[in-house]
Amino acid sequence: MKVRILVSFKDSVLDPQGQTVRNALHTLGYDAVQDLRQGKVFEVELAGVDRAAAEKLVPEMASKVLANPIIEKYTWSVIED
């Protein structure tokens, strides 16, 4: 099974890198861009794990290692069964 985990800053935390990318897009004339938040993507291959086990395992790995819960949040989804 393959899962994708997206980690990004919480809304309450400033994201100066995202702001800089947004400003660059504005400079290029992409005025439709209102806001932009930058994050990290992890694609993880899991072996010997069914969906029910993944529901437990992935949030545990995400909150313990991949994201720092003080400043970051995460979402995840199964991308390959």
Binding site: V13, P16, Q17, V65, N68, I70, I71
Partner: protein, 228 residues
């Protein structure tokens, strides 16, 4: 008395720190390998600056899982002194031995320069040789030193006198310009509630001899040594 400096892959201030304690202050100092499970009977543990594990994932995030960190955790839990410098501070935050987290500097630049920091709490074992409000000239060298903590944590830190150092102007006043990396409340260094774990972004070991342009870092290193 024996001081231990932890060596992670990617540490680059490890030997400067050993030099400062051993040669400048004349105290027995040993390197501690991150893969060992042995603190070699040291009386204080220093987590030095650098880029442990290439700063992969987040600064300090991987170093936190180094085998030796289990011993460092237990050492700190017993009230023994642990000092984290720069990357070492980031590791202490990831270990949750100190509250909060680091974000990228506000101007998105790696900052490598001398700054002024003010001793906010002089009643700690890491600051006792300095006066309250004393301004120290110590260099910083980091990308991720923009201190962040949620409002309730920040309040607890302030109320508990846990702010050890703040970035300031040379006259000790606070300003947006002197808060070089954008840290909340200009926080440059913290101490835990128990008073035995301290982390700071500036490098006292790089300001420990006249030839380096400042000896102000000695106030911090000597405070720790004196407390042992």
């Amino acid at each position: 008395m024996k001081i231990g400096v932890v060596l992670f892959p990617g540490s680059n201030c490890d030997f400067d720190t050993i030099h400062a304690f051993k040669e400048v202050l004349g105290k027995p100092t040993v390197p501690l390998w991150h893969k060992d499970h042995d603190l070699q009977g040291v009386d204080a543990v220093i987590l030095p600056g650098g880029f442990s594990y290439g700063d992969y994932l987040r600064s300090g995030a991987i170093a936190r899982f180094s085998p030796l960190m289990q011993e460092v955790r237990e050492f700190a839990a017993k009230g023994r002194p642990v000092l984290g410098i720069c990357n070492g501070f980031q590791v202490l935050l990831e270990l949750e031995l100190l509250p909060g987290a680091m974000l990228r500097n506000k101007n998105l630049k790696f900052l490598c320069r001398h700054v002024s920091i003010k001793v906010e709490n002089e009643k700690t074992r890491f600051t006792r040789k300095a006066r309250k409000g004393q301004v120290l000239n110590i260099p910083i060298a980091h990308f991720d030193g923009n201190y962040y903590a949620p409002p309730e944590t920040l309040k607890a830190i302030e109320d508990g006198g846990q702010v050890a150092f703040r970035y300031c102007e040379p006259d000790g006043s606070l300003s947006e310009a002197s808060n070089v990396n954008g840290s909340l409340h200009s926080i440059a260094g913290l101490i835990n509630k128990a008073g035995n774990v301290c982390g700071l972004m500036p490098h006292p070991e790089r300001a420990s001899e006249k030839i380096l342009g400042s000896e102000d870092g000695r106030f911090i290193l000597e405070s720790l040594v004196e407390s042992l």
